[in-house]
């Protein structure tokens, strides 16, 4: 197999102290005032890399419209199957910090915060210590707890304010009313890294990779039955097979790939499937934060899904009734199905509970969990039929 030329933009090659970083990319390309960077970002078509894919220029403009705004770089991955933010924060912190500075200038913020997991804090403290004179806006490092919902936008705001990292009711959008009431930009650290590059090299350069509607590259965390699980960079639209190939290729025949992480969907392992919003939308999926988990045929899709659902049920903030009550019951229902309980009403009950928890909470944790469960019932429908008859494709001995 010929070596594939893999694009490398935000993933650094080698050491990344400030001097090396400056040598590689040059000084911070300040624009000289608020709002001036936004047309460049819009021309580049940069979208959020935290999962939602919201157009970054629109978000910047919304925050810039307010006064005394604040910027927060969100590196709290929360998702166990994702490692890209940690890799970026420890491997290329100056690119992220550059992006935070440029975003602060763009929205007229006087201070910034970097919300990062414990594992990245030492490296980030060292990086920040190199930057006086380089930075214009002071950046406070805020440690994010290792919980699933800690990276949710309103939870980030709460933690930066000094409260627990739990989602809040948001009658007003965070871009208007966030940290201590100020208009707040909460931006994923990967998005900030892309911002730092396109501000230097221009929208044309940014659009050289990816598709016309989804330009640029993204970081993917590939795990499961692959030879070299890890964080890889690829352009949007990359065929699924090629991305799995970057991670060393499947170690066994695959039955499905979890796309978009624990709040994502199971898809058939079609190697030609383009990994992009447009490519995945017909299958009810989205790249999300670039998480891919390869499931071999030797495993049972329902057992895996039940494990994930159980984990998610335990990771709720414990604030909202439908989630607190519904998610454990949903996980339990899927677990019974995974254990080959022959009650024929189980799939319908799982669907009923999924609908009951969706859109009834302060955040989208229950919605994402329901999505994962419904996807597993659909993609593994053959498995469901077998389990209700007491059997399983993975052929493990009963109970």
């Amino acid at each position: 197999m010929t070596a594939m030329l893999h694009v490398r933009r935000v993933l650094a090659a080698g050491p990344a102290d400030l001097a090396t970083h400056a040598g590689r990319h040059g000084p911070l390309p300040w624009r000289g005032g608020p709002g001036l960077l936004i047309p460049t970002v819009e021309a580049a078509g940069l979208t959020g890399r935290g999962g939602a894919g919201f157009p970054t220029a629109r978000k910047l403009a919304a925050v810039a419209a307010g006064r005394r705004s604040v910027v927060v770089g969100n590196g709290a991955e929360g998702e166990p199957a994702s490692g890209k933010d940690l890799a970026l924060l420890t491997g290329n912190p100056h690119l992220v910090l550059d992006g935070l500075q440029l975003a602060a200038e763009a929205v007229g913020a006087a201070r910034g915060h970097l919300y990062a997991p414990a594992g990245a804090v030492p490296r980030l403290r060292a990086a920040l210590a190199e930057r006086p004179g380089w930075d214009r806006v002071p950046v406070e490092l805020v440690e994010a707890p290792d919980t699933f919902v800690a990276g949710e936008e309103s939870a980030v705001v709460a933690r930066v304010e000094g409260h627990a990292a739990l989602p809040r009711d948001t009658p007003r959008r965070v871009v208007e009313h966030g940290v201590r009431g100020a208009p707040t930009l909460v931006q994923n650290v990967e998005t900030l890294a892309h911002l730092a590059l396109l501000a230097r090299y221009g929208p044309g350069w940014f659009r050289e990779q990816g598709t016309a509607d989804e330009p640029g590259t993204f970081l993917a965390t590939v795990s499961g039955a692959v030879a070299a699980p890890g964080v890889y960079e690829a352009p949007y639209g990359v065929p699924l097979g090629e991305l799995l190939g970057q991670a060393g290729g499947p170690t066994a025949p695959l039955q499905a790939v979890l796309v978009g992480g624990y709040h994502g969907a199971w898809l058939r392992p079609d190697t030609a499937l383009p990994v992009s919003r447009a490519g995945l939308r017909p299958y009810g999926a989205s790249p999300g934060a670039g998480v891919l988990v390869a499931l071999p045929t030797s495993a049972c899709g329902l057992v895996e899904s039940a494990r994930i659902a159980g984990y998610l049920a335990g990771q709720g903030a414990g604030q909202c009734g439908p989630c607190v009550n519904g998610l454990p019951r949903l996980a339990d229902t899927l677990d019974r199905l995974a254990r080959r309980d022959t009650d024929p009403g189980l799939p319908a009950e799982a669907r009923r509970l999924s609908a009951l928890v969706t859109n009834r909470g302060a955040c989208h944790h229950p919605d994402g969990t329901a999505r994962l469960v419904l996807s597993s019932l659909s993609t593994f429908d053959h498995e469901v039929r077998l389990h209700l008859a007491g059997a399983c494709t993975a052929g493990r001995s009963a109970r």
Partner: protein, 187 residues
């Protein structure tokens, strides 16, 4: 005339105590989230509110009549600052304290939306202090103290609140207690 004021003062005091007791019991009932005595849930909440306001009205009349009654020797300051009165300062002071608390309870409840849930709730717990203080004041202060009928009324009030508290502490108190997943924390 002064006898009439004295009777009115004592009478309204007893009525206020009974209404306060009803308010406490209904407040506990409202917390259960259950429909009670044929009333829908929002009805229980409304009757609780009305009983409290009516108690406040009778409390107000109680204070005003006693202010004008020479035997009570009440100054205006005694209506607000406790334990400084001329006639039975300790027992009178308890009454002042209870009425101060009731005033704050009602004011904060009327302004609940402006105060926010946390602040309102912190103050509302004081109801559990206001009521026993009012009972003690009633038993210790009036010239009826020792009389059988007053003790009987007080006994019924205390029994009612104790029964409500026992219900409050039981595990079948709220309508939804059995239906829900147990989560940490007391709400």
């Amino acid at each position: 005339m002064t006898d009439a004021l004295w009777y009115l003062g004592r009478g309204t005091g007893v009525v206020a105590l009974v209404l306060l007791t009803a308010a406490v019991v209904l407040g506990i009932g409202a917390r259960s989230g259950r429909p009670l005595a044929g009333l829908p849930r929002f009805g229980v909440a409304l009757v609780h509110r009305n009983a409290s306001l009516l108690a406040a009205v009778f409390l107000g009349i109680h204070l005003v009549t006693l202010l004008f009654d020479p035997y009570a020797q009440l100054r205006v300051v005694d209506l607000v600052l406790p334990f400084g009165g001329a006639y039975r300062p300790l027992w009178l002071g308890l009454g002042t304290l209870a009425s101060d608390l009731i005033l704050v309870l009602i004011a904060t409840s009327l302004l609940r939306h402006r105060l926010g849930q946390r602040a309102w709730r912190a103050v509302h717990w004081a109801a559990y202090a206001a009521w026993p203080i009012a009972v003690l004041h009633g038993l210790g202060n009036g010239t009826d103290r020792g009389s059988l009928w007053l003790r009987a009324v007080a006994a019924v009030c205390v029994a009612a609140v104790l029964a409500a508290l026992a219900w409050r502490a039981s595990d079948r108190f709220t309508e939804t207690a059995r239906l829900r997943h147990q989560r940490e924390g007391f709400r």
